[in-house]
């Protein structure tokens, strides 16, 4: 295995268990060796975070494991971001996320943010207790493709509807897709208020976000519309994953 491959394998493994120091060290080494930042990101870090999401979905991982993995990934991103900007890599879409008025539960929303960011979305987090008029302002200002509302109380879920009405009144509803979530929210409730989608957990939220982007006609095959690059990355991801499986069998 070349040093580059070792680095990618190391990044995958250390991100998976949230060892930030190791992840940062390896990322720096990769950069110093002249590795392609896109390859480091899509060939190791993102597959690792995707695996974190899968493990979370089946209950193998819990909130703390997910948070430390995200922290490790963010450490690496701090080093990679300037290089990615230089290469002209674009986020695959912009999402405005918020917890509705009267509600301060943000752990669920923050986990969604982590996974969406990890997948290459640009996140604008408006925080908690966000009023309908603030939602409208933020959509006007940031021009996202997607907007996500989170609510954890039966008494605050009705603000989904208030937000949607405010967006319609401001003439913004047609330019965006709206997804909703939170512990008491169901698909039926999401439908009844006229949201475009619902997801029960962070990994599903990523799938949903990508679906909605595709519906809107965007190509989300990774890093803008460089389809060649994308397929190359897909191959890289697959390679790393295969490597991981082998790695495990060797142990």
């Amino acid at each position: 295995m070349s040093r580059e491959e070792e680095i990618k394998k190391g990044l995958y493994e250390h991100t998976l268990v949230g060892e930030a120091a190791e992840v940062i060290e390896l990322t720096q080494e990769g950069i110093d060796l002249g590795m392609d930042p896109l390859d480091v990101l899509f060939g190791a870090l993102i597959p690792s975070l995707q695996e974190v999401g899968r493990l979370f979905e089946i209950g193998e991982y819990f909130v703390p494991e997910m948070l430390v993995a995200a922290r490790a990934m963010q450490g690496a991103m701090g080093l990679l971001r300037p290089l990615l900007v230089d290469k002209g890599a674009e986020p695959i879409g912009k999402v405005v996320m918020l917890t509705v008025k009267g509600d301060v539960h943000d752990i669920g929303k923050n986990l969604c943010n982590i996974m969406l960011e990890g997948e290459g979305f640009d996140i604008v987090d408006l925080g908690v207790n966000v009023k309908p008029e603030e939602v409208v302002e933020a959509v006007q200002e940031h021009q996202p493709q997607l907007v996500g509302f989170s609510a954890f109380l039966t008494t605050t879920m009705p603000f989904f509807k208030s937000n949607l009405t405010a967006l319609t009144d401001a003439g913004l509803r047609d330019s965006i897709r709206v997804m909703v979530g939170g512990a008491p929210v169901t698909q039926e409730y999401a439908d009844s208020v006229g949201a475009d989608g619902f997801a029960p957990d962070a990994s599903s939220a990523v799938r949903l976000a990508k679906e909605l982007m595709t519906e809107m006609g965007y190509d989300i095959s990774m890093g803008g519309d460089d389809s060649e690059g994308a397929s190359a990355l897909a191959t890289a991801v697959q390679a790393v994953e295969e490597m991981m499986v082998k790695g495990h069998e060797d142990e």
């Binding site: 089946i58 991982y61 819990f62 109380l153 039966t154």
Partner: protein, 636 residues
């Protein structure tokens, strides 16, 4: 952060001689209430109304103003000597006073958690022989009665309902009657001498269960005790769902009000039948319930409790007549709803404080009511803080794949033995599900035998075989996507023909629920600056708290790691406290002042809760509990 009183500041001290007891209370509290606060008996028959003149004290130092009541009761010389009625005398500065010795010993009883409670009901039945009116004695019926009561130390008022009753009763009873006085109010007049019969009701109005107690006010003895499900349960399991029902439906509030009244009146009917008591013989009612339940009981809109910033309509003690409220007993009977500490720490916890004496004792204690909404109170006579932790319904078996309420067929306790597992099932039938106490037990036992890691993850099947006997190891199963579960009962052993399992997701739900409560406890412990070692006792209260195994609670980190013998289940502390407040007017006064004394911290306003919550989602390491992994567990 919201708190009702600035911590530890602006209190005045009151010293009682010759007892040499000192207490610190908020300024403005009466000397009488301050004495009750520390369990020091001062005589009184009028219920602190300033009329009986029995609660005299002599002020030796500090604060010397007189009240109208003082001037009526005492002579000029006595006033100059410092004599005052303690029930009228408010302490605005440090006070030293002398309490005369009691005439006779007050009747007391052991109630709650080893509490010595002085019995003095607020209901007084006075048998009277009135002189019939004549052409010379032209006093009205009511004046006649009032004059006869004056020498007994009562100064009463009567409502229209009682006045309507009066002429008939006096004449039918041939001027031999019994006056029934609650506080200041003449609530009823009965023919003949009925002073031997006086009853009251105490209710714990829970979101799920309602407990009713019929008590003999003369002896303090319970006559009948019954419980039933709260009829509102069909409108949602937790208070937020009930509130949203009132918000979503135009007649939602009156609906829920009628439902709870039906539940209560049904209980009353059964209690009275069982005790052989007539409705008109019940003169007083005390209720303890969370803020939402008491609002719905009184027909007061709870909407603002459900939305940020969570404000109840009233937090003081509410008094109303049975008729106004809609309870089917003597119409003029008084109903008293105990006060709240905050929107989510209700009268049930105020009652819990009466039952445990936590805020009046030395030594720091922790009271936790484990439920959908976990209520937490920590402190001592020096300082007491409270908070509410939203745990969610996992403890009640909801959101748990094979979860169920604690009813027949529920696994309520679990022991993992070397050769397999032992299940204790309610009703001794094949198990059909797992209730909250069983859930805690199985997770604790899995932690103990190493099949579950501190992170809450099950070990993999192959690792299990290295840790425990094959009979146990084979119970760790996995589906094709890798979701693991632990089999509690195979399909042939279960009462539902399906295996009963604990899934990885169930464990996660439990972690959220216990993390919420443990996080709340962490916040109040930091607030008071105490460590686990400082805790003299931990009281587990509530219908769930009383059934959980203290050792399991400790192993999963629901409560701080104190030696297990310091963890006590205290049963229905809310019901016990309501009973105390009914039987002892003094204690009711203590309850009245608790909201000023206990600081309430709303977790939603505490940035530090998030860190606490995240840090206690995991289970404690066994060695931090002074324990070791045991491959075979005998008995907890």
């Amino acid at each position: 952060m919201t708190s009702t009183a600035p911590p530890g500041t602006s209190k005045v001290s009151i010293e009682f001689r010759p007892h040499d007891k000192v207490t610190r209370v908020p300024p403005g509290m009466t000397i009488f209430n301050a004495a009750n606060w520390i369990g020091l008996p001062i005589d009184s028959t009028c219920g602190a109304k300033g009329t009986c003149g029995k609660c005299k004290v002599r002020i030796l130092r500090g604060h010397n103003g007189t009240t109208a009541a003082d001037r009526r009761i005492f002579t000029e010389e006595e006033l100059a000597d410092g004599w005052r009625l303690s029930c009228r005398s408010e302490a605005q500065e440090d006070v030293v006073c002398e309490v005369p010795r009691l005439m006779g010993n007050p009747k007391a009883a052991l109630m709650g958690v080893d509490r010595h409670v002085i019995l003095n009901a607020n209901v007084h039945k006075i048998p009277l022989t009135l002189t019939p009116p004549t052409l010379e004695d032209q006093r009205s019926d009511f004046s006649r009665l009032r004059d006869a009561l004056a020498p007994e130390g009562f100064e009463v008022e009567a409502s229209l309902t009682t006045l309507r009753q009066l002429p008939v009763v006096l004449r039918k009873g041939q001027w031999q009657v019994t006056a029934v006085i609650v506080g200041h109010e003449l609530v009823s007049v009965e023919e003949g001498d009925t002073s031997g019969r006086a009853f009251g009701l105490a209710f714990d109005i829970g979101t799920t269960t309602v407990v009713g107690m019929l008590l003999d006010l003369n002896s303090g003895a319970p006559v009948a005790v019954l419980s039933t499900l709260n009829g509102q349960a069909v409108h949602g399991a937790d208070v937020i769902s009930r509130i949203s029902h009132t918000m979503m439906n135009d007649d939602g509030l009156s609906q829920l009000n009628e439902v709870i009244l039906r539940t209560l009146n049904g209980l009353i009917d059964q209690l009275l039948q069982e005790g052989g008591v007539a409705p008109h013989e019940v003169y007083e009612v005390v209720t303890a319930g969370n803020a939402t339940m008491q609002h719905l009981f009184l027909g007061v809109d709870p909407e603002a409790i459900g939305l940020e910033p969570f404000i109840p309509v009233v937090e003081e003690m509410v008094q109303a007549s049975a008729q106004e409220v809609g309870l089917e007993i003597l119409p003029q009977a008084q109903v008293h709803c105990l006060p709240y500490l905050g929107a989510y720490v209700g009268a049930d916890l105020v009652a819990g404080l009466l039952a445990t004496g936590l805020a009046q004792n030395d030594g720091v204690r922790l009271l936790v009511d484990v439920g959908t909404n976990g209520e937490i109170i920590l402190g001592s006579a020096e300082r007491t803080v409270a908070t509410a932790a939203p745990a969610g319904p996992a403890f009640e078996g909801a959101q748990i794949q094979d979860g169920m309420r604690a009813s027949e067929g529920a696994i309520e306790a679990v022991t993992i033995a070397p050769d397999g597992i032992e299940l204790q099932v309610i009703g001794d039938v094949p198990p059909i599900g797992l209730c909250g106490s069983g859930l805690l037990d199985v997770v604790a036992q899995l932690r103990l035998c190493g099949l579950m890691l501190p992170s809450g993850r099950f070990v993999k099947a192959d690792e299990a075989y290295e840790l425990v006997a094959p009979e146990l190891a084979r119970r760790i199963i996995a589906d094709e996507e890798g979701r693991r579960s632990f089999v509690l009962a195979w399909s042939e052993e279960s009462g539902s023909d399906k295996p009963i399992v604990l899934t990885q997701r169930d464990v996660r739900e439990l972690q959220f629920a216990k993390g919420s409560i443990a996080g709340g406890i962490d916040v109040v412990m930091q607030e008071l600056g105490v460590e686990a070692d400082d805790l003299v006792e931990i009281y587990l209260a509530g219908s769930f708290g009383s059934y959980i195994n203290p050792q399991s609670a400790r192993i999963i980190g629901l409560v701080p790691p104190v030696p297990v013998e310091r963890i006590k289940a205290v049963g229905n502390a809310a019901g016990e406290g309501a009973k105390i407040a009914l039987l002892s007017f003094r204690e009711r006064q203590v309850a009245r002042s608790l909201p000023q004394i206990v600081e309430y911290h709303e977790l939603s306003g505490r940035g530090d809760f998030n860190d606490s919550f995240l840090s206690v989602l995991q289970f404690p390491e066994l060695d931090s509990l002074g324990m070791e992994r045991i491959a075979a567990i005998e008995q907890l």
